[in-house]
């Protein structure tokens, strides 16, 4: 096994961190990068500032934000016609078009993971950007390739969870741009997460 010191691909400084993170943040030049098969990959990122104050511990939680073109060509759904009509027309609300899909970059229990992704995708967070990380940064454990697969899964989940029973669907999710967005979160004594926006 080979062991090497990780250096920032932009300024060349060795990286130090207490975090076991799959992305590396350079404190010197604020570059964020990850190690790809062929070498370091610089990542685009944003840090969202806290929008409200709670007497709880603060964290920066990573999310992959995927700007995507979603097209649903056809869907064969049995039943649930009335429900779909009530929730926005015979299609039950249309996903077609460009959208930001938010995928958590950390490991969470599957139910929480999906709910958090759906909440931020349906209501994209509005935030004021911050220059630096002021609080603890949670490590990224879901890489970009996995995030792309999970974005596709989320789109399919939106369609499948509409009223009626899905039997077949033809759709595409074309990811055009990805960015890592650190959203502010509070964690309470029981370990539950609350958005800090």
């Amino acid at each position: 096994m080979k062991v090497g010191i990780v250096k920032c691909p932009r300024c060349g400084k060795p990286s130090f961190s207490k975090l076991k993170d799959s992305v590396i943040y350079c404190e010197e030049c604020r570059t964020l990068h990850t190690l790809g098969e062929a070498g370091p990959i610089v990542l685009e990122y944003e840090i969202a500032d806290f929008g409200r104050e709670l007497p709880l511990r603060k964290f920066h939680m990573p999310f992959w934000r995927l700007f995507s073109q979603v097209t649903v060509f056809s869907a064969n759904v049995v039943g649930g016609w009335a429900g779909r009509l009530l929730s926005g027309g015979p299609g039950g609300g249309n996903l077609n078009g460009s959208m930001f899909i938010f995928v958590p970059g950390i490991d969470l229990p599957p139910d929480n993971y999906k709910r958090m992704a759906q909440d931020f995708t349906t209501n994209p967070p509005q935030y004021r950007g911050a220059e630096r990380f002021s609080f603890e940064r949670l490590p990224v454990t879901v890489d970009e390739l996995a995030a792309r697969k999970l974005a596709d899964f989320l789109v399919l989940s939106f369609e499948a969870e509409k009223p009626g029973v899905l039997q077949d669907i033809k759709y595409s999710v074309e990811v055009q741009r990805t960015k890592l967005v650190y959203l502010p979160f509070y964690q309470d004594a029981e370990g539950r997460w609350q958005p800090g926006l």
């Binding site: 096994m1 062991v3 010191i5 190690l35 697969k149």
Partner: protein, 327 residues
């Protein structure tokens, strides 16, 4: 996946490194330097520590001799001729499956007049969970070990040459592909949709590791014939083995099976009747056939990942014989 110790030091401060199994990046717990890790040929190797001594393995085998349908005098007459530990290579793959499986189930209903209708129940099932897959990475011949049942234990970084090992003969690429396919199959099966009209399951790999696992191999003789058994070097339980059967058990099971099977089938046909009666007839036949198979093949008891003719593995042979006879 806990940290494992590595016989390497931090290039920045010289401190010992501990890494998470399968990780490509770690930090030094002494100086916080971020360190990249690269396995040989891109493969991360670990070894489980052997916790079982020679005496413990012998005792496990002696206990095993006296359990199950083996020859009753095996504990007294078996003579252990060889007992040694080896490390067997296994591929371990962990992945999260995320997807949907849609389709339907058909339910048959028969009314009081004997008319059967088929009801179609439409289904859409989400799969979003982690799966583990393991497979032996070499040919172990007739040892009867194909998968890793236990994935807990004290792991250390693999050190080539310090222990006797079976070399891996399958490539990491093949293992990755097989692991992905197996996880997809497990995810599909977990959805429980009998007739699939649509599915999309993403497999998100989290770890692929070549694990060397300690196994004790014991060879023994009984009535002039050689047999073997293997013991898990981490948990101290038997993994596989061949042992002589007992003619008394074979005869008793054949007699009991013929009686029980006949009784169930007879009750089903003559007393119960209807669909339940036919089902009882089928159950009776299965009981009889299984007891016959044990009578026919039960002279040798097999444990582990081996074809057990006496547990129905020979049903195919019987079907072939019947086909042959009909021709």
């Amino acid at each position: 996946m806990g940290d494992i110790s590595v016989n390497l030091s931090c290039p920045s401060c010289g401190g010992a490194i501990a890494v998470e199994e399968g990780a490509r990046l770690t930090n030094c717990k002494y100086c916080d330097a971020l360190l990249s890790l690269e396995g040989e040929g891109g493969v991360f190797k670990t070894t489980y520590k052997n916790n079982v001594s020679d005496q413990q393995a012998t005792q496990v085998l002696k206990n095993w001799f006296s359990h199950g349908l083996k020859a009753r005098d095996l504990p007294q007459k078996a003579s252990l001729t060889e007992l040694y530990p080896i490390y067997l290579p296994f591929w371990r793959y962990n992945a999260r499956a995320a997807g949907w499986v849609c389709g339907y189930e058909e339910r048959r209903k028969t009314d009081s007049q004997g008319r059967t209708t088929v009801e179609r129940i439409n289904m859409e099932r989400m799969v979003f969970r982690d799966f583990d897959w393991t497979q032996i990475a070499c040919d172990t011949g007739d040892l009867g070990i194909r998968t890793l049942k236990n994935i807990r234990g004290e792991a250390v970084l693999h050190d080539d040459g310090s222990i006797p090992i079976y070399e891996a003969t399958t490539s990491s690429t093949d293992a990755q592909n097989q692991g992905e396919q197996s996880v997809r199959n497990m995810a599909r099966a977990s959805a429980g949709v009998p007739h699939i009209t649509f599915e999309k399951i993403h497999v998100i790999p989290r770890m692929l590791v070549l694990t060397h696992y300690p196994v004790w191999i014991g060879r023994y003789e009984y009535a002039g014939r050689s047999y073997f058994a293997t013991v898990d070097g981490v948990t101290g339980t038997t993994l596989s083995g061949r042992a002589p059967g007992d003619p008394l058990y074979q005869s008793a099971i054949m007699t009991g099976g013929a009686l029980g099977g006949g009784l169930v089938a007879g009750l089903g046909i003559s007393v119960v009747g209807g669909e339940v009666g036919w089902a009882m007839l089928a159950v009776g036949v299965v009981i009889f056939v299984l007891s016959y198979l044990f009578f026919r093949h039960g002279s040798e008891i097999l444990e582990g990942d081996m074809k057990k003719d006496y547990l129905g593995g020979g049903l195919g042979d019987i079907a072939q014989n019947i086909q042959g006879a009909m021709k």
